[in-house]
């Protein structure tokens, strides 16, 4: 995909990833009454005040901008949960913690638009930043291990943004290793 200005075109742009992330479901508490919306992607139930419903993130953003709802932060975005994840990330050297696939994008969207709906927002924000940094560092150390014997690489529980950043570099590196490796096998 990607913006056509990128000749290599092997990655999504960050804005595109954000767009894809907006399909995730999130819980909102509307403050108005509305009929159910029958959209192509699904039916989103009649909205009653103070009764929470699940809607896709883009719809939540739109309603929030018009002041028609408040957003309830997803379960993984609580301070205790994030602290646990951070501890676990720091402890395990090789493996990554399972996290929602689009956690970076979702968190950024919520910070931008739903600032007042998240308790302890500064804490949450700094925790997510730390988690992100630790994971990136782990990716870096993991990549150092690649040698000519590596035919494929498996990184568990990597999220969308991380995959997108690493993808072009990793693919090229593996290709080059493969290219340098082949003649040997044939000749010797």
């Amino acid at each position: 995909m990607a913006a056509q200005s990128d000749p290599q075109g092997s990655e999504f742009s960050a804005a595109e990833l954000e767009f894809l992330a907006e399909d995730e479901m999130i819980e909102i508490v509307p403050n108005m009454r509305m009929e159910s919306l029958n959209l192509i992607s699904g039916d989103f139930g009649p909205f009653h005040p103070q009764i929470s419903t699940q809607v896709p993130l883009w719809l939540a953003m739109a309603l929030k901008k018009r002041g028609k709802c408040t957003i309830r932060p997803p379960e993984w975005m609580l301070v205790e949960k994030l602290m646990q994840v951070l501890e676990a990330e720091r402890d395990s050297q090789k493996s990554f913690q399972p996290l929602p696939f689009h956690y970076v994008e979702i968190s950024r969207l919520l910070f931008d638009h739903a600032r007042d709906d998240i308790p302890d927002i500064y804490m949450v924000r700094s925790l997510i930043e730390d988690i992100k940094d630790v994971r990136f560092y782990k990716i870096g150390t993991g990549l150092e291990v690649i040698s000519q014997r590596t035919t494929a690489l498996k990184l568990n529980h990597l999220t969308a943004m991380e995959v997108n950043i690493v993808r072009p570099f990793l693919v090229k590196a593996l290709q080059t290793f493969n290219k340098l490796d082949n003649p040997e096998i044939h000749k010797s």
Binding site: Q8, E11, S13, A14, A15, E18, R108, D112, F136, G140, L143, E144, I146, S147, Q148, M161, N164, I165, V166, R167, P168, F169, K172, A173, T176, F177, K179, L180, D181, P183, E184, K187, S188
Partner: protein, 195 residues
């Protein structure tokens, strides 16, 4: 084999390699790099190359003549002992761009033509060490350190570095925020209708 339309491949094959003619060649146009006017015409002034003379030819020419068994190819100077020693000592800081910006590509192509089996191992070892450096430098993305290091990298390594760099930079820029929609500069200011 080679990518016919790939610019880097074409440029890589343009590197000079020393070769020794096995037969006396007649009418081979030798582009002497120091003298622009030395192009050969067939009517008069055909350059005769004697057997056993050493010349430096671009790789594409050398390979074709090699297939016709007209010459034998030696290793270009960038693969000589001096470079090898430097690579063994500290691969990460060897200035490959100066010697031969298509180090790896050329090495792969030369492998089948020159009777030297150690090229592949040399390339591999060199790349492994340098790759680690590229990785580290790309991730830290310090603008002061980068330029000095970049001048040492061959074409392929530079592409690798830029791939890592650009995606990181794009992500950081996105994270900074900024308007999601930007007004196109073409739209400009509104002008009143002129009536």
């Amino acid at each position: 084999m080679s990518q016919y339309y790939d610019i880097d491949d074409i440029l890589a094959e343009d590197e000079l390699v020393p070769a020794v003619f096995q037969v006396a060649a007649n009418g081979v146009g030798l582009f002497d790099s120091s003298d622009e006017t030395n192009k050969v015409t067939y009517e008069d002034e055909t350059i005769e190359v004697e057997q056993g003379s050493k010349v430096e030819l671009p790789f594409w020419l050398a390979r074709e003549l090699h297939l016709r068994q007209a010459l034998s190819i030696n290793l270009p100077p960038c693969f000589n002992q001096k470079t090898r020693d430097e690579l063994v000592a500290d691969a990460a800081h060897v200035d490959l761009k100066n010697r031969c910006p298509y180090f790896y590509e050329l090495g792969c192509k030369l492998f089948s033509l020159v009777g030297d089996k150690t090229i592949a191992l040399l390339l591999l070892a060199a790349f492994q060490t340098r790759y680690k450096e590229v990785l580290i430098k790309a991730q830290t993305a310090a603008m002061t350190v980068a330029p000095k290091f970049l001048t040492l990298l061959t074409k392929e390594e530079t592409k690798l570095y830029e791939a890592a760099q650009s995606s990181m930079v794009a992500f950081k820029k996105w994270r900074m925020g900024g308007p999601r929609f930007q007004r196109a500069s073409v739209l400009g200011r509104k002008r009143r209708p002129s009536d």
